[in-house]
């Protein structure tokens, strides 16, 4: 039976309550100040690969949309990450964070030390958006519903616990506090309007679950590789390497 938009929105929000990665223990460690400098660096290196892939995901989506109005509504996501001539984008802001934690920014930008599992999960998201229905692609983006809370907690936790945290290094997260709600208001409205059968609602809910898996798997891989008992897979970043400035 098709749920009402309000019921369906509640279903989507329950997925976040049950599966969003704010419940992963790595975030407790990171936000609570429990990470070593190298664990923070491993997070910065791996999460960069996700950030850097998001505009490719959005371009894959737009490449399949024949409605100029929908493409126009979506386009700002790419600008937010890639920047404009005047304004720095999210990827450049993330590299400020790489600078602040003492990493060689060229190494981070090269994505050479990224965990294979991070790469597999992120690439799966880009391909999902390329291959699935537009409804599933938009629904997968709705993890942004749950992002502002974690970004606020992250800014507060990092500022309280790490010397590298300041307005420059955390500018990525501050900007997302305003960008994500704008994006998700549009995406949520679009999904609620277009998921007009029970079958489509199930597909959209499954897409959102898939996306929570993509985020969770990244933290699982990070935790297994760099937190006790750490086991770094062959080829991934080795703590201490590509560090330019001492920890602070």
């Amino acid at each position: 039976m098709t749920a009402t938009p309000a019921e369906f929105e509640a279903r989507l929000r329950r997925i976040g309550a049950e599966r969003y990665h704010d419940k992963h223990p790595f975030h407790d460690l990171l936000h609570g100040g429990g990470c070593t400098p190298d664990q923070v660096r491993a997070w910065v290196i791996n999460r960069f690969y996700y950030q850097a892939s998001i505009p490719m995901k959005d371009a894959a989506f737009m490449s399949r949309v024949d409605d100029p109005a929908l493409r126009r509504a979506w386009r700002s996501r790419i600008e937010d990450h890639d920047g404009t001539d005047e304004v720095e984008g999210g990827i450049a802001r993330w590299l400020h964070l790489a600078d602040a934690v003492g990493l060689d920014r060229d190494y981070v930008a090269s994505a050479r030390g990224v965990l294979p599992a991070t790469r597999f999960a992120v690439d799966a998201y880009v391909r999902f958006v390329r291959d699935k229905t537009l409804l599933e692609a938009v629904a997968a983006s709705l993890t942004e519903l749950f992002a502002p809370k974690i970004h606020a907690a992250r800014i507060e936790g990092l500022m309280a616990n790490y010397a590298f945290a300041d307005d420059t290094s955390l500018s990525y997260f501050r900007n997302r506090l305003t960008q994500a709600p704008k994006d998700v208001a549009f995406g949520l409205g679009w999904v609620l309007e277009h998921a007009d059968t029970a079958e489509k609602q199930d597909a959209a809910a499954a897409a959102l679950e898939f996306k929570t898996d993509v985020l969770w798997a990244q933290l699982d891989a990070l935790h297994a590789a760099y937190v006790t008992p750490a086991r770094i897979p062959p080829g991934a970043w080795v703590p201490g390497s590509y560090v330019l400035t001492p920890a602070s």
Copy 2:
């Protein structure tokens, strides 16, 4: 500079010596009898997803080959996994293993409880073969160079340490002892012949490294989810569920 075939083969074998998943601690645990019944089950459930995807990978490869002789040489791989009217294939043999460890074989075949990280890694392999050059696709299959040794160690270790191990439950591995060398002799010859520039040799070596990442990431995910300190991601198999017969 282009290496000679013998030098290039040595380079490929070094990749196995350094990165093949026989060096992953989960295999020590499994082959040494250190796994609990539920840890064995988790391995059976997750590794099934890999086995079941291999014929899709091979079909993706054949869909891109315009040489009937090469397709003919490759086709037996699909038969080996899917079976014929007379002979059971590798996927059916894997389900004997599922029976033997007491799992509901329909649940295993459904792949519902597979770890998202397993899915991301395996799907990445299928897509790699679909998207990259034929040389890279064949080179990625060369982890089979290193497989007979691990299959022999597995048969010996499982027989010595677990009551479920017998000729029926381990028939998948016994068959691979003869199938893998036949496949890899062809694949290795093909790669050595076609990787005739330094650039192609680098691409083929990178493809083999990618494949070792695919295998390693599956065991990392399994270890993180089901071995101490176990942390099962949302939606994945929960120990004790879908178990039909007691552990032995």
